[in-house]
């Protein structure tokens, strides 16, 4: 087996995995040999990625605001990282 990892990152509208996708990125350990996303976005929410076989690796923790910076805006809040392993010998 020649296994390679694909990584899908989704940024969602809330901390819930079934909330809608606001942004996404795809990083391909198969260098194009494996299946590729075709839609933009590839899924309408995070759960749809699970249904399609992606495994959740990490989600953003919920952290209280930094005192004095409660109203600052910065990075997208709700980041979910998925992986799937592709067997290139098949």
């Amino acid at each position: 087996m020649s296994a390679r990892q694909q990584v899908l990152m989704l940024w969602l509208a809330s901390s819930a995995l079934d909330s809608r996708v606001l942004g996404w990125s795809f990083f391909d350990g198969t260098a194009g040999a494996g299946p590729q996303p075709t839609d933009d976005p590839p899924y309408s929410n995070g759960v749809d990625a699970l249904v399609d076989g992606w495994r959740l690796l990490q989600m953003s923790p919920l952290t209280p605001p930094v005192p004095g910076h409660e109203r600052d805006t910065s990075f997208l809040q709700h980041e979910f990282v998925f992986e799937r392993i592709i067997d290139l010998t098949r």
């Binding site: 940024w11 942004g23 990125s25 795809f26 600052d72 809040q77």
Partner: protein, 305 residues
């Protein structure tokens, strides 16, 4: 100074909400043609210097375009007959500059970005410089002197990203964001960015090199009521936070708009950031959008130290 076409209140409110203003085909063809001749030369000169290669030109020679130093007043930075000099004197552009950064801005820097035909590299999303403190801001002019078709290297940018506190390319992992734009448009289009707007060089699937001249300007005076404020007073009210009864004609109506990539909770915080910026620009310390600042400031004033 002759009267310039200053920005309207609607344009200023849109700039505060979205971080950019677009002026389509505003630069005449003759100046664009000059730019297409001059700008690549500027780029090659820089590239040669970067690589440590002699360009074969000597400073001050007839074919060497004189470059301004950072901090040079815009009025003196570029010869009136040069491409940048002529572009910044186009009345609509000069009026926009005066409205945003005043009558006497200084040049921070300029650069010529060339995206070669067939160059499919997607630059990482970033904002320029570092984490700049607000509310005062610089502007960056992105000048496209030739037609740019979709997918032919037009700059990628993210409306409404300009007030987020991030540093440079720490946002590069965001490859696709709902509502982001890739510039395409007619020759002579200038897009003016707030300094903080996230952007990136985009792949050029076309058959011609894409040339773009970028110019960053710093204000030298408070950016307070520099635009055409003749309609501002009746539109600057903050007391329309009544659900389903918000006034469409108020500045606040533009400042409360969302972007497709915003989380709903963060959209409210963005509204606060915009209200603070509008307080600075309008000189109205009590301006607010949806009462967010007012109620908390009034509560805080009740607490004895």
């Amino acid at each position: 100074m002759e009267s310039l076409p200053l920005l309207t209140t609607d344009q200023m409110a849109s700039f505060v909400a979205r971080g950019f203003l677009r002026f389509d085909a505003v630069v005449p063809d003759e100046i664009n043609a000059q730019a297409i001749e001059e700008l690549p030369h500027l780029f090659r000169t820089w590239l040669d210097e970067f690589r440590g290669v002699s360009s074969g030109h000597t400073v001050g020679s007839d074919d060497e375009l004189e470059l301004p130093r950072s901090g040079t007043p815009l009025a003196h930075a570029y010869a009136p007959e040069s491409a940048f000099g002529r572009m910044t004197r186009v009345p609509a552009i000069a009026g926009a500059i005066a409205s945003l950064v005043g009558a006497e801005p200084v040049v921070d820097h300029h650069f010529v970005h060339i995206k070669g035909a067939g160059d499919l590299h997607a630059q990482g999303l970033h904002c320029d410089a570092i984490i700049d403190q607000g509310p005062a801001f610089d502007i960056q002019l992105f000048w496209f002197p030739h037609d740019v078709a979709p997918r032919e290297g037009g700059t990628r940018f993210v409306p409404g990203s300009h007030l987020r506190r991030v540093n440079m390319d720490d946002v590069a992992r965001y490859h696709h964001l709902a509502g982001e734009q890739y510039f395409s448009g007619d020759a002579g289009t200038v897009v003016i960015f707030h300094q903080g707007l996230w952007h990136a060089g985009a792949p050029n699937h076309g058959t011609r090199d894409r040339v773009m001249g970028k110019l960053r300007l710093n204000p030298t005076q408070p950016q307070v009521r520099l635009w055409d404020t003749s309609d501002l007073a009746p539109r600057n009210r903050a007391d329309d936070h009544m659900f389903a009864r918000m006034d469409a004609g108020m500045v606040a109506a533009e400042l409360r708009r969302s972007e497709p990539w915003y989380e709903p909770s963060v959209n409210r915080l963005e509204t606060v950031q915009r209200a603070r910026l509008w307080r600075y620009l309008s000189g109205d310390a009590e301006f607010d959008v949806d009462w967010y600042l007012t109620r908390t400031e009034r509560r805080a004033a009740l607490v004895q130290p």
